[in-house]
């Protein structure tokens, strides 16, 4: 199966354990949307261009992720509720390396 197991803790603190496909050219933001983990229109507002931070999440597991692009870093420098482990979900492609990843959605702002 071209899938990895991912745990997403939503904005209400509810834990969702789900399977994310590695062969669909999807990113973490799109996985959150496809499983309707948060209300529509509150995640991925800009469509995945690293322009809104509505998909900000905190990486809780110790996975080595793809490095941040300048755009992502810049967006996070302006966003609110940013922590050291903040990333934009839309900038994290779903790959095999993400097996077991645990993330928590940042509050809506």
């Amino acid at each position: 199966m071209n899938e990895v197991a991912i745990t997403i803790i939503d904005r209400q603190g509810v834990k969702h354990e789900l399977q994310a496909p590695t062969d669909m050219n999807m990113n973490l933001m799109e996985v959150v949307r496809s499983y309707e983990i948060e209300p529509d229109g509150t995640v991925g507002i800009c469509g995945g261009m690293a322009m809104c931070a509505s998909c900000q999440c905190y990486i809780q597991s110790s996975h080595e992720l793809n490095p941040m692009s300048d755009e992502e870093e810049a967006m996070l420098s302006e966003a609110f509720h940013v922590k050291d482990n903040s990333r934009l979900g839309c900038q994290i492609p779903i790959t095999e390396e993400l097996e077991g990843l645990v993330i928590e959605m940042a509050p809506e702002s």
């Binding site: 529509d40 509150t42 469509g47 810049a74 420098s77 302006e78």
Partner: protein
């Protein structure tokens, strides 16, 4: 009072194209948008990004698409109320709608087409407790009149283009400009970043990074700010006349959600099998702002929705008129400005 046939809320691609389709039916349009320029997200967020799924365009820059749409609708002389947010919707006894903006501009029409995309773009407000109390009393989220800062001590927070550009601009007007940003890196046009560096070296902009405004103090109006520097871990209080947090814009459905429309998933429910009308007859919702089973938020879907919506609007405005859709290749395009575009006529002539 501005009167028109179709009042369009939102001047994004869907709203703009509505003007064209309405124009073919000889219906006049007026557009209201909270942003100061037409184009919606395309102009505000990503004018330089290419779009690849506009039929007939293998690739087009978002800004270019807006320019082209503006050109396409020019013959239909749309009116614009820009920089104002549609605030209220009322229905008159004779079945017209009155839409009033936050600045009090009133618009009257038989049809309202909401093409509001993700909503109106509102400045993102930092979470500093009590900041609301000082809004317009020293705190503003956008610079409306730079002159009001003449001779004042101003603190700008943010790390993007607008924070940089306003710091540069106000450095000539204000007595002191402080720029506070959470990181040492700024995101902006190279020119702006270099200019800020230069002004910082000259002491015309006082930079404080990586730092954040953590507290706001004052009586009736803003008096001072408490700034925490993350690197030195030092906190200091500074007296200022003005605080301008510039953290970008975020779209909010805003006042539309109080118009009595059926809302689902932060979008307006419409009759998708027919004409994209909302639960209020005469009010339509098209483009990214609407929702129905299978909805896709794509520009090309917005264009389609606008086209069907205009046919329905025509039938509402002129219930007794008979009409059939006419191809532009057949009928050409006759503008309200007297311009006429049409296919060149074939010549019927004997060849001897």
């Amino acid at each position: 009072m501005i009167t028109t046939d179709i009042l369009i809320i939102g001047a994004g691609p869907t709203g703009l194209f509505t003007v064209f389709e309405a124009g073919l039916l000889q219906l006049k349009c007026h557009l209201v948008d909270a942003l100061p320029q037409p184009g919606g997200q395309l102009a505000e967020l990503y004018p330089k990004k290419p779009i690849y799924d506009i039929p007939g365009y293998p690739e087009v820059l978002a800004g270019e698409l807006v320019d082209n749409l503006m050109k396409q609708i020019e013959p239909f002389q749309p009116g614009f109320t820009l920089g104002e947010r549609a605030e209220t919707l009322e229905r008159t006894e004779d079945d017209y709608f009155i839409v009033t903006t936050n600045k009090g501009t009133k618009h009257k029409s038989k049809i309202v087409a909401i093409a509001g995309g993700l909503g109106s773009f509102e400045p993102r407000k930092p979470e500093i407790s009590g900041i609301e109390k000082f809004e317009d009393r020293g705190v503003s989220y956008m610079v409306k009149d730079p002159e009001q800062y003449r001779g004042k001590k101003v603190l700008i927070a943010g790390g993007g283009d607008s924070a940089l550009d306003w710091s540069i601009f106000l450095s000539d007007i204000a007595s002191e400009v402080h720029l506070v940003h959470r990181r040492n890196e700024f995101r902006g046009a190279l020119d702006s970043v270099e200019k800020v560096q230069e002004l910082k070296n000259k002491g015309k902009i006082l930079l404080n990074t990586p730092a954040e405004v953590v507290e706001i103090k004052g009586g009736d109006s803003l008096e001072s700010l408490v700034i925490h520097n993350h690197q030195t871990d030092l906190t200091k209080e500074m007296a200022v006349d003005a605080f301008i947090p510039l953290f970008g814009l975020s779209p909010k459905l805003g006042p539309l959600s109080d118009w009595g429309l059926e809302i689902e998933k932060n979008a307006i429910k419409v009759n998708h099998t027919l004409d994209y009308q909302t639960n209020i007859p005469g009010v339509y919702a098209i483009g990214d702002v609407n929702t129905y089973p299978g909805k896709l938020k794509l520009i090309l879907c917005g264009f389609h929705e606008a086209t069907l919506m205009c046919q329905s609007a025509y039938a509402r405005i002129y219930p007794d008129k008979r009409y059939v859709m006419k191809y532009t290749t057949v009928g050409g395009v006759t503008g309200f400005d007297g311009s006429k575009k049409e296919a060149p006529k074939a010549v019927v002539k004997t060849i001897d």
